[in-house]
Symmetry: C2
């Protein structure tokens, strides 16, 4: 009886241990598989100058076979990758670039606007007025563009797609930069990098609100008047 009793006790101990160990293993295995499945955030680097290639299939995919321009077709270049990332926007695109004169990039931004994507463009005032600037074309299309008129340059060259994809680097949005210069563009979904850029864009956007600027310009007069009172 004693041996049966001690065997039963021992069995109960083993069963208890198994009851803890089995669900624990299953849970940890599930966690492990989940982490294996979770897609790594996108990290990509593009270098310029970009090869010259036809971009029509990026704007209108069905045209791939019907474009007869003399440029190479169906070639993936740094610039076509950049355009694809921008055109992947489905809800919002925030652009903050010193110089914006590249017509293909302007075409992409206008196409997104027509698709209903909320676009905000912030650029440097000094560059916005020069020949070739796309600011007029963007505004004519109904896109909200703000210009920074501070003494220092608004020298950024970044964009945030759908508040989750950051596109940043040395590349101004000009033809010279894309086709002539040695440049880089980093594309990342790392939240630790995307979040600060979203915050900085928001800060600069508010800072360059024309209404706020106007009221700020009027304020000092009142303050001065107050000081004279």
């Amino acid at each position: 009886m004693d041996s049966i009793h001690s065997m039963m006790m021992w069995t109960m101990k083993v069963v208890g241990l198994a009851l803890v160990a089995i669900p624990l293993s299953v849970e940890l295995l599930g966690w492990f598989l989940h982490h294996r499945r979770t897609k790594k955030p996108l990290s990509e680097v593009l270098f310029f100058p970009s090869e010259l290639a036809c971009l029509e299939h990026i704007f209108t995919p069905s045209l791939l076979c019907s474009c007869y321009c003399p440029l190479p077709h169906g070639v993936e270049t740094s610039f076509s990758r950049l355009l694809r990332h921008l055109l992947s926007a489905s809800s919002s695109l925030d652009v903050c670039v010193f110089a914006f004169s590249n017509m293909d990039l302007s075409r992409a931004v206008v196409a997104l606007h027509k698709r209903g994507v909320t676009i905000r463009v912030l650029t440097d005032n000094d560059y916005s007025a020069i020949l070739g600037s796309q600011v007029g074309i963007l505004r004519k299309a109904g896109i909200c563009v703000r210009c920074d008129a501070d003494s220092g340059y608004m020298h950024h060259k970044f964009a945030v797609v759908d508040s989750q994809l950051l596109i940043t680097g040395s590349l101004n949005w000009t033809i010279t930069a894309v086709q002539g210069n040695m440049e880089n563009v980093v594309i990342t979904q790392d939240p630790d990098l995307v979040r600060p850029f979203i915050k900085e864009f928001h800060r600069l956007w508010l800072l360059n609100d024309p209404d706020r600027k106007r009221s700020n310009k009027q304020k000092p007069a009142h303050v001065t008047a107050g000081a004279h009172d």
Copy 2:
């Protein structure tokens, strides 16, 4: 006897199961804890213009209390963070910047060179000759500087520390950029971002090897001569 036999069989099954489940749980738990412990690669963003502050304690930490310059002391700024990251180099620093006229950045690079860190600086030829360029000072200190003389600008603004930390953005290494402009610098250890920049630096470094350039310049004459044969 039968009941004892079936109980023993059942016990053996439970024991067998436990023997599989327990080491599995222990192993998975170890894996889980290891992944928790593994440090996340650094991701940081710095925005400029940077506040003005004394930087002496970054170059010579013991001086923290003995510097009496009129600038604020002990303040961490975007620029001091940038300098700290550069000065963290222990084996190599590759710099690839369009404009390099900032004396504090030049001081940091020379300090690293004196510490025995292998430095390579690649800059744009057009900018290297202008007033304030630090190229002469770097070369005088014995640092290897190569200048890109291609028709397009070498417009990059990046550095790679110890082949594992990437520092890149819109910021040229000038005083105006640091103190006057709105700029960004991304600092990351993400290998998917660092690796392409290491590769690109290597490519550009070889491309701008003065010996190679010289021999390339001589080659066409031979080729032409050959064609005439």
